[in-house]
Amino acid sequence: MRKLRYREALREAIAEEMERDPNVFLMGEEVGYYQGAYKVTEGLLERFGAERVVDAPIAESGFAGLGIGAAMVGLRPIIEFMTWNFSAVAFDQILNNAAKVRQMSGGQFTCPIVFRGPNGVARQTGAQHSQSFDAIYAYIPGVKVVAPATPADAKGLLKSAIRDENPVIFLEDERLYGVTGEVPDGEHLVPIGVSNLVRQGATATVVTWGKMLPAVLAAAETLGREGVECAVIDLRSLRPLDLAPVYASVAETGRALVVQEGWPYGGVGAEVVDRLQRECFAQLRAPVLRVTGRDASMPYNKHLEDLSIPSAETVVRGVRAVLAY
């Protein structure tokens, strides 16, 4: 085991897969000469050359679509969006081409492509740059969606995503890029579609993913000191969704809370709640509650931004509300 930063773990995954398979290439804005807007791709241009580490102009729809075409005929593109906010410009390509080409062709074509970049709220970047795309992409049949919270999962899931035969939406996080964690030596793959019980607890079940995991774990520590033991499950993959460990935990706790950064309307949290009420109706002793981002565009002001996304404190309040029912 070594300690790596989240961004280094991602870089290692990309480099290993590029070594392994000459069809893998990386394309996006500032990924090469600039060494990546968030330094995820630092050193890759020097290592693999400009044919395989391609700096693209600001043309998201163009280079996302180009990647899809290349994937249909045998290449394995990794398309970086400088942030997922800019994927909105390429949404048609992902929705109408990447997600559908296999189905529309009756299974003749596959689209093994990874779209990756930082998702969600950074720091004070305002309404157009602070959006969580989890729900938007998880809504679409034909794409897989993953959102790693730790360096080990970042590496293992990215390697799996690059090898997957389907389009994978890979949601990273600017606030996680500098976080360090243990990453296994050697070949390390984390399968897509397998969630992870990261903390045991018999009082309440808390489900989350991505950058909310640290806030949830901090809340669980606080509650633990009061004797309230929370099980914490990190979904890691949002589509396909693996709720088996959640069902097992709820069988014990009877109480569950879902924590997500994004807007409350619909979304992955709502999907979890729906499945829980159907699968665990008999075991539930309280309604499943959610702690979510506020139902509004993100304000620039720092104080209002802090109030607009879940924190350890609001998660603690959420768990208390589930217990008080």
């Binding site: 500032e30 102009p57 740059h129 565009s297 304000p299």
Partner: protein, 319 residues
Amino acid sequence: MASEVSDELGALHRQMVLIRRFEEAAAKAYSQGKIGGFLHLYIGQEASAVGALAALRETDYVVGTYRDHGIGLAKGMTPRACMAELFGKVTGCSKGLGGSMHYFDADKRMLGGYGIVGGHVPLAAGVAFKAKYKNTGEVTVCFLGDGAVSIGDFHEALSLAALWKLPLVTIVENNEYSMGTPLSRTMSVPDSSQKALAYGMARDRFHAHDVLEVKARVGEAVKRARESSLPTLIEIQTYRYRGHSMSDPGKYRSAEEIEARKKDDCVLRAEAALRAQGRDDAYFAALEAEIEAIVEDAVRFADESAEPGEELIEAYTYA
């Protein structure tokens, strides 16, 4: 006695100095942690916004990118409201909700700074569409960067503006870089005004060294828009002295290159012209003192203003 030309140049020079000092104060406040997020400075490019907007009437519209401070100030927004927005205060032009990238002022007809590259160009075409629809004679000026020329929305907007003969002046501020990438690696031709050819649109291309020339050249396009309801694509060649944003270390270009570009500085060039017309040291010292007081006042105002309250989070989601 100062001539009419030097009075006009004096006013434009003063605006450019105001923008530069405002931006320097913003950079300082950013390093003190009073401003967060992205801060894209306009230093070096002042003659572009100041000259272009001097060719407009107050009732004309402007739409811009996230690099919007110079455009806002040149359109008549107050330094107080602009600085308070950067500080995230409720007295800011967008109540502290928008920040540096999203200046708006309905009264001044500043229709916004936008953060998604190119996304505002169709919107600007829509503003021009309204002027034609209502036959108001208003002109819309839209600023974008050289990097935005690669994105689809720019081309769709130009296509529509040409097809429907909209009174739109689209200005590409070519500062040679989009973030860390030089133009030569983002576009297959060096001159973005060539993009107008296929749309059958009038075009122009010139440097922003001389603010009066900017005004005159943009003025021709504004006239074409106002009198004949025809769009124009203009490339203004300019240069930013600072990084793309405050977080950009700018390793992709040399100090020599920046120094070389500074030799053509638009503010210094205007100052030299004014001196040639008889303005003396005392004039410039008084001007600097006046601007310094304005900027200090804006910073103090921003500092002392209140934060927006929590009730503003959802307040403007719907009308």
